[in-house]
């Protein structure tokens, strides 16, 4: 097999893995948009906040310690204990549920029936608030995310491909784990939406708020549930991206990677987020590999958007988005 083809195959595989990580972020957007019509600009910051909270709990960090020390002249920083990763993840999920309740009660309940742009602006405000709140709560230093996920080259794949192609493929163990988790997450979300009472209620709300209300579904409960689910997805994305780069405030910028995925896959489709992520991941990596070096490199950020826009020309609602026809 020619060298370029072997390398191209490796690039495609890595693109698929990168796409899964993009899709993890996009999923959170889809969940909230589907159920409430809100484009949640704060989804990236939610991933950051979830990751900060997880690491803070694991390390036994005292929340708001800088503020407490500044006001009371104390010197408290840590509780002196370390919380196991699994328990810390559960506690972080509780925090994200509380956050979902607070967001719904304090912001969106008061904005029912407002224009989508108003709701979008509210999420921009939420993003800035949450970023500052996370900073005050946990500090702005870069933290190591270590929940025991494997990282580095997968030696089995390296050996296997080396025996075949005389060139060992690089696949990151973390990406393999992320793929498995994303698959499990999508499967669980589909099962939840199709086969549980709350899931069916969520779909009913997504289809028609007023009809759902008329049959006794609590909109507040559904919205808190959906924001909690998005918080959980944000936590998973925060763990994966935080393991790659450390937990730091740039983590919120991963939302930028989700936008072309949403444009391509559609804002209302869970499978769309996955397929969109994979297409963007493979597309940008292949373009960088094949064309990037000829035009100065660093093409991935903008090429993802070009690819998404190309798809939009043919399917404005995205690959899996709902085609909305309004009769006048």
């Amino acid at each position: 097999m020619p060298e370029q083809l072997i390398w191209g195959t490796e690039v495609v595989l890595n693109g698929l893995m990168a796409g899964v990580l993009y899709a993890l972020v996009a999923l959170g957007f889809v969940l909230i948009y589907k159920a409430s019509g809100i484009f949640n600009y704060a989804q990236g910051v939610m991933a950051l906040f979830a990751a900060l909270t997880l690491v803070g709990i694991m390390e036994g960090q005292v929340p708001f310690s800088h503020l407490i020390n500044a006001v009371f002249g104390t010197e408290v920083h840590h509780f002196g204990w370390h919380v196991p990763a699994l328990l810390a993840i559960l506690l972080t999920m509780v925090v994200m549920v509380v956050l979902a309740w607070a967001v719904n009660t304090l912001i969106f309940r008061h904005l029912v029936n407002q224009e989508p742009i108003i709701l979008f602006m509210a999420t921009i405000g939420l993003a800035y608030f949450l970023e500052g709140f996370g900073d005050i709560m946990w500090g702005s230093d870069i933290k190591k995310m270590d929940v025991g996920l494997p990282q580095g080259i997968n030696l089995a794949i390296d050996d296997f491909t080396f025996n075949i192609f005389d060139y060992g493929f690089f696949i990151d163990n973390l990406d393999l784990v992320a793929t498995a988790i994303a698959a499990a997450l999508v499967f669980s979300l589909i099962v939840f939406a199709q086969y549980t009472k709350q899931g069916r209620a969520m779909r009913a709300v997504a289809d028609d708020h007023q009809a759902a209300l008329s049959v006794g579904i609590s909109l507040n409960f559904i919205w808190v549930m959906v924001w909690s689910l998005a918080g959980f997805v944000a936590l998973v994305a925060g763990i994966m991206w935080g393991t790659k780069s450390g937990v730091q405030f740039s983590l919120s910028l991963i939302a930028l990677k989700a936008l072309p995925v949403l444009m391509l896959g559609g804002f209302t489709s869970i499978p769309g987020a996955i397929v969109g992520g994979l297409l963007i991941g493979v597309g940008e990596k292949l373009f960088e590999f094949a064309i990037g070096s000829m035009i100065g490199g660093a093409t991935e950020n903008w090429f993802a958007y070009v690819l998404a826009l190309l798809f939009l020309v043919f399917r404005p609602q995205g690959l899996f988005g709902e085609k909305i026809i309004e009769r006048v």
């Binding site: 390398w7 490796e10 690039v11 890595n14 893995m17 990168a18 800088h66 020390n69 002249g73 920083h77 500052g132 900073d135 500090g139 702005s140 230093d141 870069i142 933290k143 190591k144 995310m145 270590d146 990282q151 580095g152 080259i153 690089f170 990151d172 991206w241 790659k244 780069s245 450390g246 730091q248 405030f249 740039s250 983590l251 919120s252 910028l253 991963i254 990677k257 990596k285 960088e288 590999f289 990037g292 100065g296 490199g297 660093a298 991935e300 950020n301 903008w302």
Partner: protein
């Protein structure tokens, strides 16, 4: 009642503002935003050094020191706003820890007659003081950094790197592109091949670049990164098992923040530096006695001894020494920004002086003159010891290749002079 309120408000403003007799060293800090992890230790070190001088020495030449802090969040527009809002406080010198803010401030400080020091950042050709009379960038600049990295590689390879390949992984911005010209010129001189691998901002996804490194197997990788790009690059290098002792970052890619997320894998990673590392200096004893133990440390007080905290200390020490020089030249303790500029232009940092300051071997020796606002271009290499969790200096300070760099500085600064209608002059 209204008059009373206005009088009270005025009194509050007057008492809150720094007294005019004080020497003012504004700090354009960034304690928030995506780059706060780099901004906080620098701002803490900068403030703590001046607090030490106030507490231990009663200021400089009997004048108390004031360090008004203004938050830029590493945002260029906010940085300019901070400059505008603090320049009338009697500010003596600015040190924006940002190349973007530096570029915006160059014409402003020149027009306002306030000196600016951009150690290890900003516009490299500002070294030519005949063209940039108000801008200084001692003791080293980006091109010095690139040259010293190649010099270290030459040392590692027994003086011959012809036929070797060096890859530059860089932030795809004006900052990241700074070393390219120097590395290209050095490639002609030493016969190595240069591979350029740009990474888009912010640099969270670098799989393509590191797959290319894995395929092409360069002998060395030099990195020009900042923020999250550094942590991701080091982690990706660990993932592909690139030898860490052949991976050299610029000084903005050489903090504890950059290596710690990669854990043990980052052991052996190298970074350039223009000041020493760690806290084993007599100055730290003074800081403990006069600042830390009195509860006067800036910020949370948890950055002491880190690479960028030391850079903040060093930055403050350099301008404090320049202020002393200015007081000596002009025979007054109440110096103006113009006098401060004279002090900076006559600054001479010797080992003897640094020993007296409690910072033996902390920085390179250098002299400043009108023609040379950048010092002598010395930098050293630090290496990360993951098990000890600390940086160690592994080389002496080495001088950059002046034969290559000086003509580049001359050409770039003269082009700026022509564009901006400046007649280069040294009195």
């Amino acid at each position: 009642m209204k008059m009373k309120l206005i009088a009270t408000a005025l009194a509050a403003v007057v008492t809150a503002a720094p007294a005019m007799a004080e020497l003012v060293f504004p700090s354009l800090s960034y304690r928030t935003g995506p780059y706060a992890a780099g901004g906080i230790p620098f701002a803490d070190g900068y403030a703590d050094y001046f607090t030490l001088l106030n507490e231990r020495d009663g200021g400089i030449g009997g004048e108390k020191l004031e360090v008004p802090e203004c938050e830029t969040a590493y945002n260029t527009e906010k940085g300019v706003e901070c400059y505008e809002s603090t320049k009338d406080l009697g500010s003596l010198v600015y040190q924006p820890l940002s190349t973007g803010i530096t570029y915006q401030l160059i014409p402003k400080v020149t027009a306002d007659g306030i000196p600016m020091l951009t150690s290890g950042l900003g516009r490299t050709s500002a070294k030519n003081g005949a063209v940039f009379p108000w801008v200084f960038n001692f003791p080293a600049n980006y091109w010095d950094g690139a040259s010293v990295a190649v010099k270290h590689i030459l040392d590692q390879e027994g003086g011959d790197i012809s036929g070797k390949t060096i890859a530059l992984v860089y932030h795809n911005s004006a900052y990241g592109k700074e070393p390219i010209r120097t590395l290209e010129e050095l490639a002609k001189k030493h016969g190595y091949d240069l591979t350029l691998l740009p990474v888009d901002h912010p640099g969270q996804e670098q799989k393509s670049q590191w797959l290319q490194v894995r395929r092409e197997k360069p002998d060395y990788v030099i990195m020009w990164g900042w923020g999250v790009m550094n942590q991701v690059a080091i982690q990706e290098a660990v993932n592909i098992r690139f030898p860490m002792d052949k991976f050299i970052g610029i000084w903005w890619s050489g903090s504890e923040n950059d290596v710690k997320p990669a854990g043990e894998g980052a052991h052996g990673y190298k970074a350039l530096t223009f000041h020493n590392l760690g806290d084993d200096y007599p100055l730290y004893d003074d800081l403990k006695t006069h600042v830390f133990d009195k509860g006067l440390a800036a910020g949370a007080g948890d950055q002491h001894g880190t690479a960028i905290y030391n850079r903040g200390l060093y930055a403050a020490m350099l301008v404090a020494e320049a202020a002393k020089t200015a007081q000596e030249i002009h025979g007054t303790s109440q110096i103006t920004p113009a006098m401060m500029r004279d002090g900076m232009e006559a600054l001479e940092m010797t080992e003897e002086k640094m020993v007296a300051l409690g910072l033996p071997k902390f920085g390179p020796e250098f002299t400043v003159s009108c023609e040379n606002h950048g010092g002598n271009g010395f930098a050293a290499i630090g290496q990360w010891d993951a098990s000890a969790g600390e940086w160690k200096l592994i080389t002496d300070y080495m001088q950059s290749d002046q034969e290559i760099i000086q003509p580049l500085i001359e050409a770039d600064s003269m082009a700026y002079a022509e564009e901006s209608n400046i007649t280069p002059a040294c009195n």
